[in-house]
């Protein structure tokens, strides 16, 4: 399944040539839907998969009912005088560590009919290894031969020659960040007719209404906490959409303080003992980053108790360099604001997701309109930060993975 490429072995080029010259499948071809359905089913029914919540979430995302919704979204893109067709060969560079994102990128591209080459990082998490062996098993089946012959998953050490060769085969290249990767791969040429989609480093925030948190009874509070925990901790707070700044919105300072106390006290109780973020080396990393923030003029107050989880630093304003200083690992910047517009003023195009709790839709629409330039690409309730959507960072992937052919004849 996983093709390990290196320059000493020239045979991989031949194996690849066969795949990229296959005919293209129809968008949402039955064999694709069936394959994804079986993948989803296999994961959801396997109890050992519960160790990997991201894979469970992915399997959930791949259920037929959800893929049907995606198909409807796709159908809406087609107009009377345009036909959507696959682009051809799409080359995906998965990020080193948000393990499962390559699946979403691959699946959406596969659904609209493309042949796919996916480059995985050399250091892969255990869930990817589990997933790869599962994919391998499924793709051995005769009924999925069409997919197998149109999919290549590769891995290799940083090697410009290999990247250049793969790039020469594709009609579209997708680079899942961060900035340094985008810069390096972008400098490697594409065929003149090929196009590219890149995902740079992003930063994400959560906003909570202090009053709404204070009103919560125990049960809905627990639900909010679990949702926040999933958003922030699944990818060790390192996914682009994991909240790193929490903005507390309230008219009165003492109400904000009370809401924070209720929230963080509750959160601490639901963090499992075996959380990877409780490993001492991670604790020291978190403490070091918190201390770094504490040296900045905009720092107000830090709650750092030993290397314990989480660490928090209250700041007077969010400054550009604070985004790059963040190291994940369970560290939260906090901002107190009288209204959402105080947060809006501080956002930049670096900011991707805003997860929210306790605001009316009209307030949020107002917020989006008042936010500067092209900041914030999505606003979702707390608990959905990591849900992958076919519209990501402002791109509609279904559209980008397709080419539109105009048939403008009466």
């Amino acid at each position: 399944m996983l093709l390990l490429l290196n320059q000493q072995d020239p045979t991989w080029k031949e194996r690849l040539a066969d795949k990229v010259s296959q005919s293209l499948l129809k968008p949402f071809d039955e064999s694709i839907l069936q394959f994804l359905h079986e993948l989803s089913k296999t994961i959801l029914r396997d109890k050992t998969m519960r160790l990997y919540p991201e894979l469970m979430a992915m399997a959930h995302w791949l259920r037929p009912v959800h893929l049907k919704e995606i198909q409807q979204q796709y159908a809406r893109l087609e107009k009377a005088d345009t036909i959507l067709l696959p682009r051809g060969v799409v080359l995906h560079f998965a990020p080193s560590n948000v393990d499962t994102i390559f699946i979403y990128s691959w699946v959406l591209s596969m659904l609209v009919g493309n042949i796919n080459i996916v480059r995985l990082s050399q250091n892969r998490g255990p869930q990817i290894e589990v997933l790869l062996s599962l994919l391998q098993r499924l793709l051995e089946k005769d009924e999925y031969a069409a997919i197998k012959s149109r999919t290549v998953i590769v891995s290799y050490d940083h090697n410009e020659a290999i990247t250049a060769y793969l790039s020469s085969l594709c009609q579209m290249r997708v680079i899942w960040g961060g900035d340094e990767t985008v810069k390096r791969i972008r400098s490697i040429p594409l065929p003149p007719a090929a196009t590219e989609m890149v995902f740079a480093d992003r930063f994400s925030c959560a906003a909570l209404s202090a009053e709404a948190v204070l009103e919560l009874e125990d049960k809905p509070l627990q639900e909010l906490l679990r949702n926040f925990y999933n958003d922030a901790f699944w990818f060790d707070q390192l996914a682009c959409s994991s909240p790193k700044l929490v903005c507390w919105v309230g008219a009165k300072e003492e109400r904000i303080v009370a809401a924070k106390d209720k929230f963080w006290r509750g959160l601490q109780q639901i963090i499992p003992e075996n959380s990877p973020l409780k490993i001492p080396a991670v604790g020291i990393k978190r403490m070091t980053a918190a201390y770094h923030y504490a040296t900045l003029p905009a720092a107000l107050q830090a709650s750092v108790s030993g290397t314990e989880l989480p660490a928090r630093v209250q700041i007077a304003r969010l400054e550009p360099e604070m985004r790059e200083m963040h190291c994940g690992a369970g560290l939260f910047l906090e901002l107190h604001a009288g209204s959402l517009s105080e947060l809006a003023e501080q956002l930049t195009l670096k900011d991707q997701t805003l997860t929210v709790f306790g605001f009316a839709k009209t307030e949020l629409v107002q917020f989006v309109r008042s936010a500067p330039r092209r900041s914030v690409d999505r606003i979702v309730p707390i608990g959905q930060a990591l849900d992958f959507s076919p519209v990501w960072d402002g791109y509609n992937l279904l559209q980008y993975f397709s080419r539109e052919v105009a048939v403008n004849v009466l």
Binding site: G178, P280, T288, T295
Partner: protein
């Protein structure tokens, strides 16, 4: 400060604590008043106090903070050099700002430690490294600083390795002939010695006898631990294969140059008068009693031009006692086990930036 340098291993613990506390209270107040990021840090964390009553109360900084923040105390013009930790270009390195005073204290500290082991006479010296480490003055790193610091204790220096890390056998023979019967001082970095001296000698099937000789080495065990070599075994192998009579590993870091913890004849690291070691629980950071393994906190009175007096390291160690080591030296004695086991975090992290 002179009381420390004059009594490097012979201050009673009670007296030592009083001296340290007094000096450190003054030093921390000095940093607080003259380094605005440090002042901001203590205020933000609520760690500022007019006076601290115990050494384990002093506000400690995680040592990696010096990789992230540019911390120095007093006017920038007073800084005469910036030390950096060794590391490849892609890694972040610590930046340690030194003024004349701190630099002088570092020298005095090292002299007081080393001369208590070899006396004050300069010995013929072999540096188990290549001279090219020193030539890149722009990137003046820990390795270069260590070599220069220790070079002061020797004369007629021989750099044993050429620029390609090969042993210069002919020059070594000449050196030995010239210094027949004299005590020889050797210095190097643990991993360099292991890889380019010990293993090279082994591969060429040579044994060697440096005669009456003493070796100081430091710089960490991370890579050696991967090869399953511990400190004891390393010292033993060097004695056997190279005939070095006495081998002393030391524990130290670029963030506190000068106050190194030298291994005694009994195999324990010793805190000299001007520094202290405290072991803490890796999660709660509570102080642990002797005999329990935990995170190592190092305290030194030397740094005046940067707020690095009290540092929480990422190393694990165990304190065995205070003032009672059989070697006769006073002070806290301990051992170092190595780094905290690292944990790789996941995330949208850059494939290339790592």
């Amino acid at each position: 400060m002179d009381v420390f340098f004059n009594h490097v291993y012979d201050l009673d613990q009670q007296k030592k604590r009083d001296y340290l506390l007094k000096e450190l209270n003054q030093t921390i107040a000095w940093h607080y008043a003259n380094s605005s990021p440090y002042q901001k840090l203590l205020d933000t964390l609520g760690l500022h106090k007019e006076e601290f009553n115990r050494l384990d109360e002093l506000p400690m900084l995680p040592v990696q903070l010096f990789k992230l923040a540019d911390l120095y105390t007093g006017p920038r013009e007073q800084i005469i050099k910036v030390l950096t930790s060794s590391g490849t270009t892609s890694q972040q390195v610590s930046k340690i700002h030194l003024d004349r005073e701190t630099s002088l204290y570092q020298t005095k500290a090292l002299v007081s430690i080393v001369s208590s082991f070899i006396g004050s006479q300069r010995l013929p010296m072999i540096i188990l490294d290549t001279k090219s480490v020193l030539s890149k003055r722009s990137s003046f790193n820990a390795r270069g600083a260590g070599i220069l610091g220790f070079s002061n204790f020797g004369r007629d220096h021989l750099y044993l390795l050429d620029d390609d890390y090969n042993i210069k056998w002919d020059e070594l023979e000449q050196f030995r002939a010239k210094h027949q019967g004299e005590k020889i001082l050797l210095f190097g970095f643990t991993f360099v010695i292991w890889k380019y001296v010990y293993q090279a000698v082994l591969a060429q099937n040579k044994t060697f006898d440096f005669g009456d000789s003493i070796l100081f080495h430091g710089g960490g065990w991370k890579k050696l631990a991967d090869e399953q070599v511990d400190n004891y075994k390393f010292n033993e192998l060097l004695r056997k294969q190279l005939g070095i009579r006495s081998v002393h590993n030391y524990y130290g870091m670029v963030e506190q140059v000068g106050s190194i913890f030298m291994e005694c004849e009994q195999g324990y690291m010793h805190a000299p008068s001007f520094s202290e070691v405290i072991i803490r629980d890796p999660v709660s950071l509570e102080v642990l009693p002797a005999g329990r393994e935990g995170l190592v906190e190092v305290i030194s009175v030397l740094p005046k031009s940067y707020p690095g007096n009290v540092l929480l390291t990422e190393d694990l160690g165990t304190v065995f006692g205070t003032d009672t080591c059989n070697c006769g030296r006073k002070g806290t004695f301990f051992s170092i086990k190595g780094r905290l086991p690292a944990a790789e975090l996941r995330g949208c992290s850059d494939v290339y930036a790592n």
